[in-house]
Symmetry: C2
Subunit: 336 residues, 2 copies
Amino acid sequence: MGPRNPTISDVAERAGVSVPTVSRVLTGAARVSPQKRELVEAAIAELNFRPSSAARALVSRKSRTIAVIAGNTSRYGYAETIRGVEIAARAEGYTVMIIVVESADEDEVDRAVSVVLTQTLAGVVVLKFDPPGVAALKQIPAALPVVALSGTRETGVRQAVLDEAAAAEELTDYLLGLGHRTVHHVRVPPSRRVDGRTTGWKRALTTAGAPVPPVHDATWDPKSGIAIGRDLAADPSVTAVFCGNDEIAMGVMRGISEAGLRVPQDISVAGFDDHPLAELWSPPLTTVEQDFSGLGGRGFQLLLEGVDGTGDRRYSSERPRLILRDSTAPPSPVRG
Amino acid sequence: MGPRNPTISDVAERAGVSVPTVSRVLTGAARVSPQKRELVEAAIAELNFRPSSAARALVSRKSRTIAVIAGNTSRYGYAETIRGVEIAARAEGYTVMIIVVESADEDEVDRAVSVVLTQTLAGVVVLKFDPPGVAALKQIPAALPVVALSGTRETGVRQAVLDEAAAAEELTDYLLGLGHRTVHHVRVPPSRRVDGRTTGWKRALTTAGAPVPPVHDATWDPKSGIAIGRDLAADPSVTAVFCGNDEIAMGVMRGISEAGLRVPQDISVAGFDDHPLAELWSPPLTTVEQDFSGLGGRGFQLLLEGVDGTGDRRYSSERPRLILRDSTAPPSPVRG
DNA sequence: GTGAAAGCGCTAACAA
DNA sequence: TTGTTAGCGCTTTCAC
């Protein structure tokens, strides 16, 4: 096994003080004389002592660890959001635990919530982007500080939001303003019956008195956009398409070009998220910039305020920004 | 505050047994009579009791939490590797803590190692893809079970590897076999002085007796490939380019097309990683499939074997697979 | 198979 | 300002 880690009593002994005095130096909970403080600090450095967070959590019922509950960790929006949470947490001396909930199944959600209950946590950030996130959020005990992160304000919990509906509406308006009779929509898997992107799209069409065509459903796999793109290209009334994210838009564009049509000359295609590759795509993608890492950061701040009672905000919203590039243009005179 | 969480003594009282008996049911450490077991299980369910992992960690000096130390969490290879670790860990009932080390600065690495020492961990997985990862790995105390994940076998620690050098060599050989006189290389930020991709590329050229042109250095930002692509296009002797990852390859291809040349007719471009969008790109990218999530999973398994003494493997390697698509072709007769 | 007793490493409450 | 005492919630001896 080797020599065990030094404990607080090793430090106390070496510094010639009592254990609580070492604790006071560690936590800053009470004043300690400069002389003793120095002795303690020297002992800590010599022994390379690190306080056990398990012991601390046990006795103080507090911890500097938060959990992020997410349905996924590696897709762009998720990964960036988690990164934003982690950066903000790290800046405040907090550590992040990842809890993945792959489905909204009761067993799966229970398991995740069990982990949360087992751990001593300062709080929980839930990525409410999908059904697993929504289901997990519901099961978190009310006693635990929680912040939900999502694209639409929905529940009573503290939450940070990217106002997707407003951005989707703006993007759809822009396409209509270009002269398109209507805008078709390819939806990514929604978190509930509706999602903000679809809502904003529909609102823009309705407001403008434009027809609302049936929604096309894609999976998270960008390739699922290819067949949809081909279908869209086969319908001569289609001149503009708004896709639920950039990756699907890329798939759709590939399908359109496989069908022999060009973007944007024959069909305009817009995405959502401003994926790092959106600008590099040919043609560069018109899209909506979502500050996911900012969302994560705001979410963590909101959580902290909830934990220490600072601030009374329960809600933080931000409007994603339209990014106009070359994948959208006025409609072709021959189509439509 | 509300009512505090139920403890093991609440369960014991309710079930009419002693605390250690509840503990035995929880851990399975010793046999308990069926009757008592049933009583205990009923009490646990009624109270919705979850054992405190802090208390467990404190007394048993064990835990079911591992830490993943990484220089980044959201770039494709990192995110997928972490996802692989998490999936494998979850399957075995382990929870994952994320520790990000943004630079190899002493302070930054110290902070990360401090977190590791503070926590009671079953073990640590280090993503040794970059200098922060390399630096962090060095500082981890020997007493803690550790597995390193990387693209090149290097140190004495337990490690899971994707043999990048072998794959890069195979890819370069393929390009030479197509008739290219040599292959140029755009390198992504390496983990040390050398990285496997560059090593394999150089080995293939040397073995074939082909000239070894100077390496072009890109950043992690795909856009950094654009200027490099333009430069490469300006040099008429360039007919084939091997890029350190797919995103850089996409940037390079954009630079080449901005210079008025075509891929693969004028210049062949190959990437590395098989990014989800590589297949959708125009033209679809020739690349090397890296099973990052598999790497993460193998890494976790190796760690577990180290923790419980099962298995004596200290090393797990896998050869990434060449994916031939349309961005590579024989050299143009007019260039080169 | 079961319970009583001890104690993990730390912080909180109280006295001095 | 400092030390003494108690105890967080659990597992681990050790008797029985």
